[in-house]
């Protein structure tokens, strides 16, 4: 392809504006910007929280105040002014919702635009949706059916009111308040999120899914998800995000904690499409997320993620393989375009005997973006016969983007087996021409090639997500080859 053609195509991508960039006009209850103890007390009071939780938040705030923002990631962005953010924003909709008629029509419209109207979701048997707009859950469905099995699936705020003993027992056990700068901040100011508990031996009959959406201009998002799979249970959890277009940067510092008890299995899938900023890197979401799971004996946690959005991503869904014979998996496709930066990967901490982990990471970089894989495989002295297999591949679409791999391997037990494979390739002009020669247009050819490249990961997604994820991949890379 000639140079000018390349430039033209790159130009077309940059001209492609964010498809989900719209704003819902809903009357919100927002507290003034700024962060101090008083704000935390206000949040806790507004949410009518028990005393222990307020103390927990204040402890987190104290720890956070003494911490420094981390700078080791391969990303570059202007320092955030955390005092300019409002830490609480809830749609003014206090009463219980009995039917869709009572839901704010504006909200319904938003959901329709996202293609996830509750009506549609209700018809789609098997998907319960806990729709989070800004920080407060506004609609929860399929609750009854899950209730019969003893499955608890609700907003974290509700869980704090209804099941305080579970929340108190597990919250902070996998990601403690002091874990890192953003986790500490989240612990201090989180406003809501999702809670899920699967009782012993229960196989959750449907995919549980939560859609997040940042809605209030200048409002930080501090979701917190707590997922507990009790002994021998199984759950597949889906999390998807789209965010409206904004000029100023929005901070998203979420925490996800998973506890997988003896012989339990959790599949956690994410499609992340926060607003990535415009072609010049203006705006976009800063996605600084802490996700971690703890596996007890013979338990399993699989993280699957398709990351296409955000201006800056800093995210390492990890597994602590504490119990013997436990399994951790990480399957990731991360796409960066224009000026996006992603530093993402996983940590597999092998503590128990015969613990196994698999990492498959597929990076796709285009435009002037920077895409880094950062992974840690750590084998502790007691982890006899632990095994890890890692593949991290990078696909470059242009000559101006960057792909980086930072694999860390620490082995303190000689019986461990570690395999690591890495490749970097540029999308082939030959491949595109071959497709074109068969009558396939260039755009579609790129879509086909990229989907093929990412297939090993896309195949791990539940059906409901696979289609959406493929669509996102294609949208994110339209016209981007050089």
């Amino acid at each position: 392809m000639s140079q000018t053609e390349e430039e033209k195509l790159i130009g077309e991508v940059t001209a492609k504006s964010y498809e989900f960039g719209f704003t819902t006009d809903i009357d919100s209850d927002t507290i003034p910007p700024g962060l101090n103890e008083g704000v935390i007390r206000t949040i806790s009071a507004k949410k009518n929280e028990p005393e222990w939780l307020l103390k927990w938040r204040l402890e987190a705030f104290r720890l956070w105040s003494e911490m420094e923002e981390p700078e080791w990631a391969h990303v570059n962005y202007p320092k955030l002014d955390l005092q300019s953010i409002s830490y609480y924003s809830a749609p003014k909709q206090k009463k219980e919702i009995a039917s869709l008629d009572e839901v704010d029509p504006e909200l319904l419209k938003t959901m329709e635009k996202l293609g996830i109207s509750i009506e549609e979701q209700k018809r789609l048997s098997g998907v319960a949706v806990d729709f989070v707009m800004d920080s407060v859950s506004v609609a929860t469905s399929f609750k009854e059916k899950l209730g019969e099995l003893g499955v608890i699936f609700c907003s974290l705020g509700e869980a704090i009111q209804e099941h305080p003993e579970l929340v108190r027992k597990y919250m902070g056990t996998v990601v403690p308040q002091r874990d890192n700068y953003y986790a500490a901040l989240n612990s201090a100011v989180f406003t809501d999120g999702s809670f899920c508990y699967i009782p012993k031996g229960v196989r959750c009959p449907m995919e549980l899914s939560t859609y997040f959406r940042i809605n209030q201009a200048g409002t930080g998002q501090f979701e917190r998800t707590l997922l507990i799979a009790d002994e021998g249970s199984y759950v597949s959890y889906l999390e998807g995000c789209t965010a409206p277009q904004r000029d100023e940067n929005q901070l998203h510092a979420a925490v996800v904690e998973i506890v997988s008890m003896d012989e339990a299995e959790v599949k956690y899938s994410t499609v992340q499409n926060w607003y990535p900023g415009d072609a010049n890197g203006l705006g976009g979401v800063f996605n600084f997320v802490t996700k971690r799971g703890l596996c007890h004996r013979a338990a399993k946690i699989s993280w699957t993620q398709v990351e296409t959005g955000s201006a800056v991503t800093w995210k390492y869904p990890s597994c602590i393989l504490k119990g013997d014979d436990s399994i951790g998996e990480f399957f990731s496709v991360a796409v960066t375009n224009n000026m996006q930066q992603a530093d993402t990967g996983t940590k597999m901490i092998h503590i128990g005997k015969r613990t196994r982990s698999t990492i498959i990471s597929k990076g796709i970089s285009s435009g002037h973006s920077q895409n880094s894989y950062r992974g840690l495989v750590q084998i502790h002295p007691g982890a006899e016969n632990a095994r890890n297999f890692s593949v991290c591949d990078s696909l470059l679409m242009t000559d101006t983007c960057g792909a980086h791999t930072f694999p860390y391997i620490e082995v303190k037990n000689p019986t461990a087996q570690i395999e690591h494979e890495a490749t970097t390739s540029k999308i082939g002009e030959d491949q595109i021409f071959y497709c074109q020669q068969r009558g396939i247009e260039e755009e579609e050819a790129i879509g086909l090639i990229v989907k093929g490249y990412a297939k090993d990961v896309l195949n791990k997604l539940p059906m409901e997500f696979a289609v959406e994820a493929q669509k996102l991949l294609t949208i994110s890379l339209e016209g981007s080859v050089g």
Partner: protein, 245 residues
């Protein structure tokens, strides 16, 4: 059918085709032979519309349509098919999905509905039996892990699926053993019809024993220097190319 007039083409600063003329009538099979570096594969790429080749002069018309105005995709949809000398691997994309995308691309271009799954499968069965391509290969990723012979069979399978007006075979015999050569040639011969023309590019007479051409042309230094009937191929086999210079 196909009319090539005074075609000049270059890659970078290197002119490779230097005034090539060729007419291929409907249903005809033209073989193009010639020494290494004479421009045979360049001709194939230029006809298919590969962007790294720049046409500096000349005309190429297929059924009255000026191919040089069209990009590679549009030419394919107008009925130009190139069987690659080195078929490309596309990991993770199944052969059948690839063919479906190709067929539906062409159908959209013609203002038709996407092909019905049942019709598609019927077509797949017909075309794969043509080159004895078994189901295992059909379902695998495009050319990934295929042997040389399997790749060439897959090219002819794709040709049959796409039903082109003009099929260009670029050294389809290279890397084939005798059995595979026979299978591939049989497939091509079955596809010969009064509405379809072939340009067969080869080094060797061997292929032309199986796919018998109506005309043979010798390409040398970017021009056709001699044309004749199928007996010309035998003569070349005997004397080499040097006597033509």
């Amino acid at each position: 059918m196909l009319k090539i007039k005074n075609l000049h083409a270059k890659v970078g600063d290197n002119e490779i085709l230097k005034g090539l003329n060729l007419e291929v009538g409907p249903g005809e099979v033209h073989a193009i032979m010639g020494p290494n570096g004479s421009g045979k594969s360049t001709l194939a790429s230029v006809l298919a519309g590969r962007e790294s080749y720049e046409v500096t002069e000349g005309e190429v018309e297929l059924d009255g349509v000026n191919l040089l105005d069209l990009d590679a995709t549009e030419r394919a949809r107008e009925g130009v098919f190139l069987a690659f000398q080195y078929p490309i691997e596309i990991p993770g994309v199944s052969n059948l999905n690839f063919m479906k995308a190709a067929i539906n691309g062409k159908r959209t271009h013609l203002g038709l509905e996407p092909i019905k799954p049942k019709d598609f499968l019927t077509k797949v069965k017909e075309c794969s039996s043509l080159v004895e391509l078994d189901g295992r290969l059909r379902d695998r990723s495009v050319n990934e892990g295929f042997s040389g012979g399997e790749k060439k069979r897959n090219e002819i399978f794709q040709m049959a699926m796409l039903d082109p007006k003009l099929a260009i075979l670029d050294e389809t015999d290279s890397g084939l053993d005798i059995d595979a050569l026979r299978v591939v040639s049989k497939g091509v011969n079955k596809m010969r019809s009064k509405d379809r023309s072939f340009i067969v590019i080869t080094h060797y007479q061997r292929l032309l024993e199986h796919i018998v051409p109506d005309f043979v042309h010798v390409l040398s230094e970017g021009k056709i220097v001699k044309s004749g009937g199928k007996e010309l191929a035998l003569e070349l086999e005997e004397k080499g190319y040097d006597w033509l210079k």
